[in-house]
């Protein structure tokens, strides 16, 4: 499981059913956690103190979750959550992904330039403000007004926090919950100086590689340790979590605090059909081909393999996820349940004349918007959303070109990704001196151009414009070899130079992005007006209908914001065969073939004789998680860390659409193997001590 594109939350399947009881389903917000249900079922009291403590010990990374595990800013997360950082810090002769890393002292901790760490310190319900701004407007005007309001709220929150001695500067982000049913302002303390402390070797962190991804039983030490710095010193983090190195017991109540990325449990059938018929098949076809190009490139030589590994891993993870999501949507029974639940809600609305009159038929409105979306999906995907270009450098070019126009506008009139609140993060990324691999950039760009020509056709206006005299190969090579955008200084100069600098730039990739921009802008506008606006308006109405039936006794879809859920340590039955909840170290060595990705690293072979072979390695629980939860602590009733979530089983992927009580399982690293590894394999005394290991 990885940080990219996964999905879960308020099962449309269960939308009119009673609250989950035996099923420990639900990605609950911290402001609506069902403590009473937990008390009734498990006899465990989760009070506000417990909630606050765990919340403040939970960290959001770029695309992942983590926890503070020492008072000095130490952050525990997954290896696969820091793999990009390891890749960025690696060179041809020093491959940190392969070899692992352990800072011998704090001075040797190395900065992950694009990493951040956010802690959620405040939550404010702003639904009424948003409602007031949009009421009585057409869906397009409402869409604009909604965005302006959200931008304004974020801006004043950030501005005010600058002057607030108690909080200090905050990162303020608005959140849409229940697909427009609620709006919240979430306030974060953000750390931007994050450094690498420890990573095991890839061969043990990801033992089994892609073949084992989303499988269980497993044997992965998928852990990584970072540290947050402030003003050049380790951050003070008194609200850290404690680690219990004895791990959890079978059937023990466990919690997962983290940031599930995205689920689609509340979508209408029309929206799900768009995913099934259009989005998923097209994405999968393109991704599978790109995977083939990466794999073949990586077989060329060791350096190619090293440089492409991080991107390939991410891609393979996403392919596995979306393939299973497509399988789920092709299951006619699942779709029939969704249809029945939708009909039940529509019937409930019809039975309430007042509600019925006030919301009309939002399902039909969404269906109409889906038709519009299907009709524009190909050009939108290739031209605006980047499938037709692609690669890091082309992405930077597009960002610079568009930002030059956007930043010239008043803050509330900008596209939301270029508001003042978003700029510091963009600048951090532009300034990061990350390695650029021109051959991989050329692969990505050539691939994008070739497929854009295939899918839009050689006679499409934009294809003719870009490829009138050059082949995709020739164009990609000229652009990548000619651009200076790999250099942070050049990027920042164009960023700071604004519109004038962009207009006069003769960098070939900037010229390319300028050529694409008018068509891309037009598509974005069409999308916002014909799809986004009516879907937002209709979804808010459906949310009102749902609240009328159920109140907030259901949970919102995942939105990469902080959630807490509960479950128990347990296996499941796969085709009639019982899968035990724990794996043991001994089987790791039995299962190894000596060839990657089933190779045990030399450090473990050396330590083998000293290891306790009965040590628990990985475990399964029935917590309701999804991508973005990677790196989340598995927490016991006392609030101690007893495991480290890093994956789900194969049945967890349909969690995008509904939670399957019988089969959906989360997969975690047991803290007992972390203890064994730190002590006997890595001899990491200082680190172990700081993590509370005596």
């Amino acid at each position: 499981m990885q940080k990219i594109f996964l999905a879960i939350a308020c099962g449309a399947l269960s939308v009119l059913a009673s609250l989950p009881a035996s099923a420990d389903e639900g990605m609950w917000t911290y402001h609506d956690f069902p403590s009473q249900a937990v008390a009734e079922k498990f006899g465990v009291r989760i009070d506000q103190t417990w909630l606050d403590r765990v919340r403040l010990g939970t960290v959001r990374l770029a695309g992942c979750t983590a926890s503070f595990v020492s008072p000095n800013g130490l952050i525990l997360t997954n290896h696969h959550c820091i793999e990009s950082c390891l890749a960025e810090l690696s060179t041809q002769t020093d491959d940190l992904i392969a070899a692992g890393f352990l800072a011998s002292d704090r001075g040797k901790e190395r900065r992950c330039e694009t990493q951040i760490a956010d802690v959620l310190v405040g939550m404010v319900n702003i639904t009424s403000q948003v409602d007031a701004a949009v009421t009585g407007k057409s869906s397009q005007d409402a869409n604009d007004a909604r965005k302006q309001t959200l931008t304004q709220i974020e801006q004043s929150c950030e501005t005010n926090s600058q002057k607030d001695r108690k909080t200090g500067p905050l990162k303020c982000q608005t959140v849409n919950l229940y697909n427009g049913g609620q709006y919240w302002l979430y306030q974060y303390k953000r750390y931007t100086d994050i450094r690498l402390v420890f990573a095991p070797e890839r061969d043990i962190a990801a033992f089994g590689g892609d073949p084992d991804n989303f499988q269980f039983p497993r044997w992965c030490l998928d852990m990584g340790v970072l540290r947050a710095y402030e003003n050049g010193k380790p951050a003070k983090t008194p609200n850290h979590l404690s680690i219990n190195f004895d791990g959890p017991a079978a059937n023990e109540l466990v919690f997962v605090s983290g940031h599930p990325g995205s689920t689609d449990r509340l979508l209408t059938v029309a929206q799900l059909e768009t995913q099934r018929d259009v989005e998923l098949p097209r994405w999968l076809l393109r991704a599978a081909e790109l995977r083939g190009r990466y794999v073949q490139y990586g077989k060329g030589n060791a350096e190619a393999a090293r440089t492409v590994e991080d991107q390939l891993n991410g891609l393979e993870n996403s392919i596995k996820v979306r393939r299973r999501q497509l399988d789920a949507l092709l299951d006619d029974e699942l779709l029939a349940s969704k249809r029945a639940a939708e009909q039940a809600l529509r019937d409930a609305v019809a039975a309430d004349p007042q509600l019925s009159q006030s919301i009309g038929d939002p399902w039909a409105e969404i269906e109409t918007a889906q038709s519009a979306y299907r009709a524009m999906h190909l050009p939108l995907t290739f031209i605006e959303n980047g499938a037709g270009w692609g690669g890091r450098l082309a992405g930077i070019a597009r960002l610079l070109v568009r930002a030059a126009d956007e930043r010239a506008k008043p803050n509330t009139e900008r596209l939301r990704e270029y508001t003042d609140a978003a700029l510091p993060r963009i600048e951090q990324q532009l300034a990061a001196a990350l390695p650029v691999y021109p051959e991989i950039e050329i692969i990505r760009l050539t691939f994008g151009l070739e497929r854009m020509r295939e899918w839009l056709g050689p006679d499409h206006e934009i294809v003719r414009k870009l490829l009138s005299k050059e082949s995709p190969d020739e164009l990609a090579q000229r652009l990548v070899n000619g651009t200076k955008l790999g250099d942070p200084e050049t990027r920042l100069a164009l960023w700071n130079g604004g519109k004038a600098a962009i207009t006069s730039a003769d960098d070939p990739l900037i010229e390319f992005a300028r050529a694409v921009e008018p068509a891309a802008r037009a598509l974005r506008q069409r999308y916002e007006d014909e799809v986004e606006a009516p879907v937002e308006a209709a979804s808010e109405k459906i949310a009102r209908a749902r609240f009328a039936s159920l109140g907030t006794s259901v949970y919102p879809d995942a939105t990469f914001t902080l959630r807490l859920n509960y479950g128990t340590v347990q296996g499941w039955s796969e085709n009639g065969v019982a899968v035990e909840p724990f794996t043991q170290l001994s089987r790791l060595f039995e299962r190894a073939t000596g060839a990657e990705p089933f190779k045990v690293p030399a450090s473990w072979e050396r330590a083998k004789a000293t290891l306790d072979m009965s040590t628990r390695f990985n475990l399964a629980t029935n917590n309701d998680i999804v991508g973005g939860n990677s790196g989340s602590a598995l927490i016991n009733a006392k609030g101690e860390v007893v495991g480290l979530i890093f994956d789900g089983n194969i049945n967890s992927i349909s969690g995008a659409y509904w939670f399957d009580t019988e089969l959906n399982r989360a997969v975690a690293v047991d803290t007992t193997i972390i203890r064994e590894a730190l002590r006997k394999v890595y001899d990491a005394k200082a680190l172990a001590t700081e993590m509370g290991l005596r």
Copy 2:
């Protein structure tokens, strides 16, 4: 469009509708051609003489169609139908695909070692013999008895023909029409010495390449010329067709005589859903990745690009076809129509107590078989059907290992692909000294092993057996680099040595195939018993129900056997924009970018000033065709060749499931551009004269 995996015929959509009238739908057999409908609609009389003449002038190649166009064995077909031969005859310094080929005299014509040419000379209805053999048996016993009967009929036909002075030796093949509704014995005269006469350059034969494939308007001189030889001399072919070099007129009545490969218009909804949910998505994902590997490999250097081109083209063609087939099946309206038609037939059965009692519920039987098929689809695909190994050499190893067992059995007890009637063709292919490219073999084999491990899981028995100590890369390299199966002598020695030779062989690929064989055999048996047998039995019952309602006024699904259909030259309306039926030469030059695949070859640039720019190039018709029809002559009412079918438009791909009168169009080369090219570009006087050009 290409020779691989396409699909069409008796629209289940129209199964209970009246005969197509305005729609020129239908892939008619020569023994049931609706001459009366043609006479009524077009006032043209198609009599038995016309039918016999056209049939005997039509040729079946390996996977394609062609026509005799001179009394001396000259064969006209598509360039893409002879691309494999061009690839086989090419070397690093002499690339016939790129440069084209023109034999300066007959002595320079070069043999295509694996090509064959069949002419259909006899058709015998054997339905009653097959019925007699299976009646009263369980579906599994009936399945065995059916195959034994078919093998026996083929065998005696071939044996008898050896002694028949009039016909000479015949190739005898049984054909299943109407999904078990009829069985026929088709008798062919087979030519096995086929030589290359002419091919234009790839850049004009496939102008627009994959981006333009299945598109129209087009500008492709997709032609190739072969010659059949007998006893080392050009074959005497008095029954050839004449070419009319003035091409057809708009709206003119035209016929296509050829061998449509496969359609699924008569399948049940349960079978279509299996394609939609299981077969197509999984195939597409694997094919897209393999495409990526091939593309990336081909970018390495010119020789890699040359050697991978033929396989890549075939793969890209299949991807485009199956992608659109999946789109068609994801169209809920199409499936709803199929469901309605199926229900109507079921209602008709229910209304007839006698019929109802005799056939029971074959639709439910097929549904049950589909569940069994879905459950075994992954291991069957990877282990028995070769997705887990792959490549030419591994295919040969498997063939040798299996044939050694099969040939030891009596003829009627063998798997059908190893009966005596099938052996000469296998021997021809084993003996062909085709080039082998180890790097491509390694790519294929590695890919198969990697994906088998991914899809079956690293702990699957066969995966553990093959990959217990080696990675897919290591294993594939050892097998390909160590095998001698690239050498025809080695292959033939193992073939002739039979079981003893295979058992004692220490060739690593033979050892590999031996290791896979037990699991593969077991899966094949399970498939035949649990899927094939009940589906065959149930399909025969459905065919009986259909005949009871409609007789043979409908046409059977395509089976790569000879069919004739009629239509008219016409364009269509695409999203409200009229597409004209003809393209002109002038636009070819305007559309060229100078970069492949939009590059006009030097020969055409040189001749440009002399060419008549208003010459018609390609054209569209509403004939009902599908893959396998590639290379078919487009024939006017007089029986003259006026064009050369080479593709369909993008809407033709859903022709696998139904014929869309408004949008489905066939695409052909106009004979006028063939005249212009032979005269002015290629200066091919002798060839032009032999083809009847004065």
